[in-house]
Symmetry: C2
Subunit: 223 residues, 2 copies
């Protein structure tokens, strides 16, 4: 009875990795079973068919996904610190998706781009809470803004972060591998946070040197 659960778990793990990097259509059941050291009939026995296995893999992915970093944003902090913190955690997850062991987030991202029947729970329990959290943070900057504006602001934040995951292959060809690697978590967090906070009038905008210097020391600058 233990061993049955064991192969079921191994199948779930292998399926998650395979689905995450190849998608539902291109993932092969035989490959999943080889990874899991299981027989092809095992997926039918434990899950029924390929689609039910996929759904279980997505649910498993989002089961371990959320939670910890929900409280990463200090509710007592100021709105600018909250936004910075949100961007850092979101971007950290996005950049970490490159890691081969992080199939859960890659699978979730895949579900976001091509929602299937498995994405209802995903949206309800994982994506929407974060989206509402971001909107709540932005609401503190624009308490009187219409909802449409708040949606657009949220998408501006998310879009900038996700772009570094989506466009990585093309970015490497555009600015080179070393150019992409120069855009690490610390730099990008600061860049995007400053970009957004400047757009919201909290932080001074980028100057001619591409820096955002605090107001106080901007009285008389030579050169």
């Amino acid at each position: 009875m233990e061993s049955s659960e064991a192969t079921r778990d191994r199948l779930l793990q292998a399926a998650g990795e395979e689905f995450a990097c190849k998608g539902f259509e291109c993932a092969r059941i035989r490959e999943i079973c080889i990874r899991a050291s299981a027989n092809v009939a095992a997926v039918n026995y434990h899950f029924g068919d390929k689609e039910k296995l996929y759904i279980e893999a997505v649910l498993e992915a989002h089961r371990c996904g959320p939670g910890a970093d929900e409280e990463a944003v200090d509710p007592m902090a100021g709105p600018d610190d909250q936004l910075r913190s949100f961007i850092r955690h979101f971007l950290g997850r996005v950049l970490a998706m490159q890691a081969p062991d992080d199939w859960r987030h890659r699978l979730m991202l895949r579900e976001m781009l091509h929602p299937s029947s498995a994405s209802d729970a995903l949206i309800r329990e994982s994506i929407r809470p974060r989206f509402d959290q971001l909107k709540a943070i932005l609401r503190r900057f624009c308490p009187e803004a219409e909802n449409r504006r708040l949606n657009a602001l949220a998408f501006s934040v998310i879009g900038q972060c996700l772009h570094y995951k989506m466009a990585r292959p093309i970015a490497e060809r555009l600015i080179g591998t070393e150019g992409v690697e120069a855009l690490d978590l610390d730099f990008l967090t600061d860049h995007i946070a400053t970009f957004c906070l400047a757009a919201l009038g909290v932080t001074p905008p980028f100057d001619a040197a591409g820096e955002s210097v605090p107001e106080k020391s901007q009285s008389s600058a030579g050169s």
Copy 2:
């Protein structure tokens, strides 16, 4: 001899549409041939195999793609007008990708996300010129900025625009179909342009109402 070119063209068109909306792996040769009213053997006769057909379709897509809107950005205009113009045209193309007849841009986007052997010419002749154009515009705002900052700024602009294409399915589930439709070309162009220009210190930032009002009329505004 004319009819041969005719079925070749029909195959190219049908293949473009099919590859654009299903990808290389999931597109079916038989479906392409049905669309093109051609026999399955025709693709082998005219192109050799599926991959060569795909490459030809990508090249065909980018052949008609670029050109006209390169000059859409007035070189004599101010940098803020140039950026606004760039965003409007880029966003216009992104949003127009939903249209079923615009398989060329969808196919190019697919190549951007998963570069194949067909994407060299695409990057060289279509993507890099636009990327350099955007960086040149941004350079006018930050003439002394390091290259890394300029890359990040460019990605901030592009990322915001592309997000509305990538995340449309999930956006519809988050804010509803009417919520997405409220984010039309005019609103988004103005939103993203204002967002970026405010971050660059050109335009006043979003205020509490989520608006970016010109400085002059911001002296005494009640409620």
